[in-house]
C-alpha cells in the first residue's frame, strides 16, 4: 500500500519538476534580454536540485543529497558571476 | 585573549554542527570540525567585518515566525495570481520607501525577508538618502504595502538592532 502511494507521488513530483525545468529552459532560450536568460538558468538549477532530492527519496540513496548540494552551490556561484557581469561588464573588479 | 582564539563563537558553533551533519556524529569528526571552524573563523577575522550589535535577542524567534507565516501567505497569493492568468486585472509596480533603518546587518536581514517573500523584490537601496526601491507583484493598495514594510518589519528590526 505505502509503496504504491509513494511510487505515484514520486512519479508525479518528478514529472512536475521535469516540466518546470522545461518552462525554465523555454524562457532561457526565448529571452528576450540577458537578465531573463540568467534568471532562467537560476530557475533551472533550483529545479534540478529539487529533482535530485526526489531521486534520493526514490532510490533511498543518501549520495543524491550531496550531489544536490553541489548543484545548488554551482548554480549560486554561476548566477552571481553572470549578474555581476551584466552590471559591470566584468566579473572581478 | 579568548576572543582572539574564538573570534566568532556563533559562526564556529554553526560550522562545527554543519561539519558533523555532513560527515557524521563521531568524536573524530568533532575534532576535525572544530579545527576547520577555528581556521575559518580566523579567516573571517582577517577580513574584519562589522560586528552586529543585537539589543533584543528575545524578539528574534517572533520575527522568524512572522516571516515564515508571511512567506506561506504570499506563496498562496502569488500562486493564485499565476494560475488565474489574465482573467483578473493586476497591476504591478515600483514602490519607493524611505527607511529609518541604518544598521547594515538589519538592512541585510530586511533584504533577505523581502526577497524570499514572493511578491516583493528588493531592487535598489540609496544609502545617501536612505530610500529603498521595491518591485511589488500585486500593487493594489500602495498604503498597505507601505504599512507592511514600515510597521511590521522595520519597526521590529529597529527594536532588535538599534
Amino acid at each position: 500500500m505505502s509503496a504504491i502511494i509513494l511510487l505515484w507521488a514520486l512519479t508525479a513530483a518528478q514529472a512536475m519538476l521535469a516540466i518546470a525545468m522545461g518552462f525554465a529552459t523555454f524562457r532561457m532560450m526565448k529571452g528576450p534580454r540577458a537578465q531573463d536568460r540568467v534568471l532562467g538558468l537560476d530557475t533551472l538549477y533550483v529545479n534540478s536540485m529539487l529533482l535530485l532530492l526526489v531521486f534520493g527519496i526514490r532510490t533511498g540513496n543518501v549520495l543524491y543529497f550531496e550531489v544536490a548540494l553541489i548543484i545548488g552551490m554551482l548554480g549560486f556561484v554561476a548566477t552571481v558571476a553572470l549578474a555581476k557581469f551584466l552590471m559591470r561588464g566584468e566579473v572581478i573588479e | 585573549m579568548i576572543s582572539r582564539i574564538f573570534p566568532y563563537p556563533l559562526l564556529i558553533a554553526s560550522l562545527v554542527v554543519m561539519w558533523m551533519l555532513l560527515a557524521g556524529f563521531t568524536p573524530g569528526q568533532l575534532l576535525v570540525g572544530i579545527g576547520v571552524a577555528l581556521v575559518a573563523a580566523q579567516g573571517l577575522a582577517a577580513l574584519q567585518p562589522a560586528k552586529p550589535r543585537l539589543r533584543r535577542w528575545d524578539l528574534l524567534p517572533k520575527l522568524v515566525i512572522i516571516v515564515l507565516y508571511d512567506i506561506v501567505r504570499s506563496n498562496i497569493a502569488v500562486a493564485r495570481i499565476i494560475l488565474e492568468g489574465s482573467k483578473r486585472e493586476r497591476k504591478s509596480g515600483f514602490l519607493t520607501i524611505p527607511l529609518d533603518l541604518r544598521d547594515p546587518t538589519a538592512l541585510a536581514i530586511l533584504a533577505v525577508i523581502l526577497t524570499s517573500t514572493p511578491g516583493t523584490a528588493w531592487l535598489d537601496y540609496n544609502s545617501a538618502r536612505g530610500t529603498l526601491l521595491l518591485h511589488v507583484f500585486d500593487l493594489v493598495d500602495e498604503a498597505e504595502w507601505f504599512d507592511l514594510i514600515k510597521n511590521r518589519y522595520e519597526h521590529m528590526l529597529l527594536e532588535i538592532f538599534e
Binding site: M1, S2, A3, L6, L7, A9, A12, A13, M16, L17, A20, F23, A24, R27, R33, D36, V38, L39, G40, D42, T43, V46, M49, L50, L53, I57, G60, F65, A68, G72, F76, T79, V80, A83, K84, L86, M87 | M18, L21, I71, N75, V78, A79, I82, F94, V112, T115, S116, T117, P118, T120, A121, W122, L123, D124, N126, S127, A128, H135, F137
Partner: protein, 128 residues
Amino acid sequence: MSHAADLPVWAAIVVAVFLLIGAGLALIGSFGFYRLRSFYDRIHAPTLGTSWGTAAIVMASMFCFTVLQSRPVIHEILIGIFVTITTPVTLMLLGRAALYRDRSEGSPEVPAMDPADGVLEEGVQVEE
C-alpha cells in the same frame, strides 16, 4: 523501490503530500516565470520554488529517511538553509543589474535615478 514498502502508510501519505506540494509550487513558479510579461514580474515567480517549494521537498526527504532509519536524519536542512541564504543574493544582484541596464538605456518603464545619484551619470564614483 524496495525500501518504500518498509514505510508505514501514514508516513508514506505525509511524504507524498509534502512531495506534491513542493513539486507543485516549483511547477507553478516556473510556469509563471515562463508566462509573465515583464522581467520585473518574472523575478517574483521562481521564489515560489525556492521558498516553500524547496522547504516542502526537504521536509519530505527528512521525514522519509528519519522514519526509514529510525534515527533523526536532518542533514537535508543544510540545503534549506543554503537556498534561503543564497536566493536573496542572486535575485537582488539580478534585479539591480536589470535596473541598471534599463536605466542606462533610458527605458521609460523603470523609475529614473534619484537626484542624489545624479553624479553617477557624470562618471564620478559615488560610494555605494
